[in-house]
């Protein structure tokens, strides 16, 4: 038999990867459907191109900066929701929870005159408390999270109403709080932060590379690691450069440039939560409980504790989202966190690639999906449709973005990946 010689010589384990094999592997994975963030990014690019063609003003520094602050609150809430979704649970109350926390903030800072940090701490504390109660009801009493958070959805709506005194609105005028969503970093500070981020990423990646090679484990070739670091540097550099351009309509009148303050806030939270999910035991356990709750229980993981904790994280992030929303609106009213906020936030996480069935998702999904949602909203705002048409077109555009994503993921299923 002629085959035997070939078979005999073949090593079972992979050989040490080279740049070439790495690229080949990546292409193989893409062809095989395992493409990570690619589909969401693709959907985003398609949207941006379409809008830029239809409305040239879409592609201006002014609009880019707007985009970032417009999507901030939904993105922050979506980041928290990722944790809940990772467990296959849902939090319908996240939107109004953010409203409650924002109302607490406004109440303390405006009506009671506390300093901003006390108010902000109280708002986040309220979020933590809300999350704990929700999580407790889900994990310990055993009510399905859909029902618990539907009850929360209703109750918190009422709480906001009561906190803002039945329908009036409470202004937020504290300069620090208002700055969050309305002011920018100085250009120099923007560059500095970008540099720190790139340097930090490089350090982590290179250390990891050295550690793994030292132990003789397979690792990506150094060139690939360096290429990744380079790519990050280019992207961040471009973004900071654009945001540091003058974008005031009337620059003589007022100067407007720099990275909006919410951006580093989101970046820090993104990095922090990604670290928690990917590099700590807690994060590992979240994935395990989401993937197979019974297996996690059998492995000795305290499943109830994990379940409660994700609701706490989710509501705390909702609180931060609420603070940003209050800052952007300069006020809090009974609708803060209402209307489409929740559906947009869940939609953002799902579009980014997080599964509603648990076990699959990353914090960056929320950011990418949040960007898709923000781009749609932003772009639609430039089109000037009447109310009915606008809803319809928004729905269709959302479908388009998700369709690009789905079609590029399709082969995944065909080739047995999930």
């Amino acid at each position: 038999m002629t085959t035997m010689t070939t078979v005999r010589g073949e090593p079972a384990a992979d050989p040490a990867p080279t740049v070439g094999s790495h690229v080949r592997d990546y292409l193989g994975r893409v062809r095989g459907g395992d493409i990570g963030v690619l589909p969401a990014v693709l959907g985003l690019v398609v949207l941006c191109v379409v809008f830029s063609i239809l409305r040239p003003s879409f592609l201006t520094a002014f609009n880019f900066a707007n985009l970032l602050t417009q999507g901030a609150a939904v993105t922050l809430i979506a980041m928290g929701l990722v944790f809940v979704l990772l467990l296959g649970e849902i939090d319908l109350s996240a939107g109004y929870a953010s409203g409650v926390c924002a109302a607490v903030l406004a109440n303390l800072v405006t009506l009671q005159g506390y300093p901003w940090y006390v108010a902000a701490a109280a708002a986040i504390g309220t979020g933590v408390l809300i999350g704990f109660v929700l999580g407790f009801l889900v994990a310990k009493i055993g009510i399905p999270s859909f029902v618990v958070t539907l009850a929360g959805f209703l109750a918190f709506q009422g709480v906001v109403l009561m906190l803002v005194r039945e329908g009036t609105n409470v202004s937020v005028r504290d300069t620090v709080l208002v700055a969050i969503a309305n002011r920018n970093l100085t250009p120099v500070l923007g560059w500095l932060l970008a540099a720190v981020a790139v340097a930090g990423y490089a350090a982590v990646q290179l250390l990891r590379h050295r550690n793994r090679s030292a132990r003789g484990l397979t690792t990506d070739p150094l060139a690939v690691v360096l290429a990744r670091i380079g790519m990050l540097a280019v992207i961040l550099g471009a973004a900071v450069h654009i945001l540091n351009l003058e974008r005031s309509i009337n620059p003589l009148f007022v100067s407007l440039k720099g990275v909006p303050i919410v951006v580093p806030i989101i970046a820090v939270l993104l990095i922090g939560w990604t670290f928690v999910l990917q590099r700590t035991g807690y994060g590992r356990h979240v994935y395990a409980v989401g993937g197979n709750r019974e297996a996690a229980r059998r492995a000795g993981i305290d499943v109830d504790r994990i379940r409660i904790s994700v609701f706490v994280i989710c509501s705390a992030m909702a609180a931060i989202g609420g603070i940003v929303a209050a800052s952007r609106a300069n006020s809090v009213d009974a609708k803060t966190g209402g209307s489409n906020v929740l559906l947009y936030a869940v939609g953002a996480a799902v579009i980014g690639g997080t599964s509603l069935f648990g076990g699959k998702g990353r914090v960056i999904d929320a950011v990418l999906g949040g960007a898709v949602v923000a781009v749609i909203d932003n772009g639609m705002g430039l089109m000037g449709y009447s109310a009915g048409v606008k809803y319809v077109v928004t729905g269709l555009v959302l479908l388009l973005a998700a369709g690009v994503d789905a079609l590029s993921r399709r082969r995944a299923a065909a080739t047995g990946h999930r």
Partner: protein, 342 residues
Amino acid sequence: ACGEDSGAGGSERTPKIGVILPDSASSARWETADRKYLESAFIAAGVQYDIQNAQGDKAQFQTIADQMMANGVTILMIVNLDSGTGKAVLDKAKSQGVATIDYDRLTLGGSAEYYVSFDNVAVGKLQGEGLVKCLADKGVKNPVVAELNGSSTDNNATLFKEGYDSILNPKYEAKEFVKGPDQSVPEWDNTQAGTIFEQMLTQERGKIDGVLAANDGMGNAVISVLKKNKLNGKVPVTGQDADVQGLQNILAGDQCMTVYKAIKQEADAAADLAVGLAKGEKRETGQTVKDPEGHRDVPAVLLTPKAIYLENVKDVVTDGFVTRADLCAGEFAALCAKAGVN
């Protein structure tokens, strides 16, 4: 609808007027009336414009404002969803050198050049007076009055209530009227209004003699419950907006009155001010309104609403606010004739 002007930072900018409407669900007027009248006024004046609707979402509201400035509007006219976001938008516009007008709703603490509106408290007063008149016509003694207020999150609903309560409360105190149930309807939702009213009727065991419904849609929901219990026409119901359905209910005798706001006048007044600003003229309004938060007198145009009863339904048609064809379709032809609508 909007021009292709994306010149950022140019000193010589073509004037362009941006209008942000609040929603399309709380009242039909924004999309059906205001948009139409503003558009024709702007076209007549030959200025560029961009009209959008925030769908009741204040994040959207701010986004649209940002987008309009990105698109190069020089005059911004807003109907705020609440004073907070309204103020944020007005302040941002001002910092960009964009002139602003408050349309229909005053932004407390804001910085708008002008304020154009109906007097919402006066609307409420008309409703209150209307109900009193209708109850008197029916000759009910010590009537139980139910109040179905607008969305508790809408400041206008609060103003309406302030208006009709200023009429009804003295009656309650004088024991001429009996205060019945008094509830707000979330989001002005007509379906929920129906359920809420049905429960009021249950709780009062059918003893409700007059209903102050804050607008025609909720009035219609009340009437459908009354019809089910064969009480329609016997219990007077108020409304607001003078939409086709409300007017038909009046023609049918199921609704006692509605409040007509001549939106065309309001829109024309606002458009005139905006066009003036676009041409670099600052027009005089001759009237001001005190902004209690901002402590300033805002130049204002204030229009007066009008109560509509069966007798003067025809005025609304004459005004062109609704067409005869719409109002007098099918079974209403005869009723129209009877009411003198032609």
